[in-house]
């Protein structure tokens, strides 16, 4: 027999899946258009707003479930994790918005040197892979998949630091490109962090184990 709480948890789960897909679309669109020099800020802005609106719904629903059903054990862990993940998804949306904004204002990365474009393209692919992994791990409550994010997180952190060192070393890069690429790469690094946090939440949700995957 299903419990009254189960319907609420299912509703929360659907909201989060929707958030996940919207944020993936926002991050993917903003990165792709920034690298190729296409304007996408308006679309990304709309997607980001939609994510914020869903985040409000998640918050409202979680408070309702806590107030009405006083969840415990795995139910409590699920709700706590969903609240945290909802915040992480909002941050995906926000960084997607920031990427599209900076690229619209300073011009896309297509104006940068080829190696910069390639570097950021490679890092974007890695980060998008992490975003996808976090969404899939959540959808399937797959803590084993979640734990595999550590290696990508390490690689992205390393790419971020290497890029900063390189850009300082190469003083001939144009100012606009320097600024936009550093900001984009910083946002990428933060998106990767949130993907890792989501995976940590998935592990906690399923096992009760608090792990650090970063």
């Amino acid at each position: 027999m299903s419990r009254i709480l189960d319907a609420g948890l299912e509703e929360l789960s659907l909201l989060l899946h929707k958030m996940g897909e919207l944020t993936y679309e926002a991050v993917s669109l903003s990165l792709g258009s920034c690298i190729e020099g296409r304007g996408s800020h308006k679309q990304v802005h709309e997607l980001s707003d939609a994510v914020v609106s869903l985040s409000d719904k998640v918050e409202s629903k979680t408070f309702e479930l806590i107030a009405r059903y006083q969840p415990v054990a795995s139910d409590l862990r699920t709700i706590k994790s969903y609240m945290k993940i909802s915040n992480d998804f909002s941050r995906y949306g926000r960084y997607a918005f920031d990427v599209s904004y900076i690229c619209e204002r300073l011009g896309g990365l297509c104006n940068c040197e080829e190696w910069v474009q390639k570097y950021i393209e490679e890092m974007s692919e890695k980060v998008l892979g992490m975003v996808r992994l976090s969404i899939d791990a959540l959808r399937n409550h797959d803590h084993n998949l979640a734990k595999t994010i550590s290696e990508s997180e390490r690689q992205v952190d390393q790419m971020y630091l290497t890029y900063i060192d390189k850009i300082v070393e190469l003083s001939h890069t144009t100012n606009k490109c320097t600024v936009s690429s550093i900001l984009v790469i910083r946002y990428l690094e933060r998106i990767a962090d949130h993907a890792t946090y989501i995976c940590e939440s998935v592990v906690y949700l399923v096992t009760g184990e608090k792990v650090s995957l970063g």
Binding site: R3, L5, Q70, V72, A73, S74, D75, L76, R77, G208
Partner: protein, 251 residues
């Protein structure tokens, strides 16, 4: 943390039926321990072992040990009257005597030999204050206890239990007959009492256990399934049966 009560392989049978089966557990001094579990799992039988109340039921047979401050309360030379003074009990339904409020609280001390009126007056006042009832009844101590509300009667029973200076207070679903306001007062009182006494509470209300208890133990089919800090039991239970019970999948 000091241990007030320890049970070792404690079992109770009523005729052929085993009500609790080999429970070994430690109860820490000045902490609230909640005993939870589905109906018939042995919760009440377990706490009744701790002041030998089961002996009142003719067919009850107890084995194993229950140590109070290191002494086995089931040893032949343990004084049962003294045990029940040291380990008081509060029941599901408030059960004041059909006497005045004053006489209810003074009843135990009188039995134990205090007859001086001034001493009794002091004991009554002190313990009604501890039970957070004094403000409500100080001007009608000679009125019948039966005229009090259910919540007030339960707090009077707590004052009556405290008047004989116990070390441990057993509570068997003390709020199940009370409304939410009276329940909140008893729960707040339980937390205050734990500064001075060791409290063991049987409850069917999971939220009550999580609100008032420092430790929680889960019994199932007479056996101890899980014991731990309340936060851990309710956030991340180790046993799948505990998980299913507290999340309402069965029970």
């Amino acid at each position: 943390m000091s241990i007030r009560i320890e049970t070792k392989n404690l079992s109770v049978s009523f005729g052929e039926a085993k009500a609790i089966d080999g429970i070994s557990m430690r109860i820490f001094a000045n902490k609230v321990t909640a005993v939870i579990g589905p109906s018939g799992c042995g919760k009440s039988t377990f706490i009744r072992c701790l002041n030998r109340m089961n002996e009142i039921v003719g067919k009850a047979k107890t084995s194993g040990e229950a140590l109070l401050d290191g002494q086995n309360i089931y040893s032949e030379d343990f004084d049962v009257v003294e045990l029940r003074r040291r380990v008081g009990m509060i029941f599901q339904k408030p059960n004041p005597f059909p006497k005045s409020i004053f006489d209810n609280v003074a009843y135990g001390p009188r039995i134990h030999g205090t007859h001086d009126q001034e001493s009794l007056r002091r004991i009554v006042e002190t313990n009604l204050k501890k039970a957070v009832l004094w403000e409500e009844v100080s001007d009608r101590l000679n009125k019948s206890a039966m005229d009090l509300s259910g919540g007030q009667q339960q707090r009077l029973c707590i004052a009556r239990a405290l008047a004989v200076e116990p070390e441990v207070i057993l509570m068997d679903e003390p709020c199940s007959a009370l409304d939410p306001i009276a329940t909140a007062k008893i729960e707040s009182l339980i937390r205050t009492l734990s500064q001075e006494y060791t409290v063991i509470i049987v409850t069917h209300n999971m939220q009550q256990a999580s609100r008032v208890a420092d430790y929680t133990t889960f019994l199932y089919l007479g056996k101890l399934v899980e014991f731990g800090q309340t936060k851990d039991v309710f956030e991340n239970p180790k046993s799948e049966i505990t998980e299913k019970y507290i999340t309402g999948e069965f029970g």
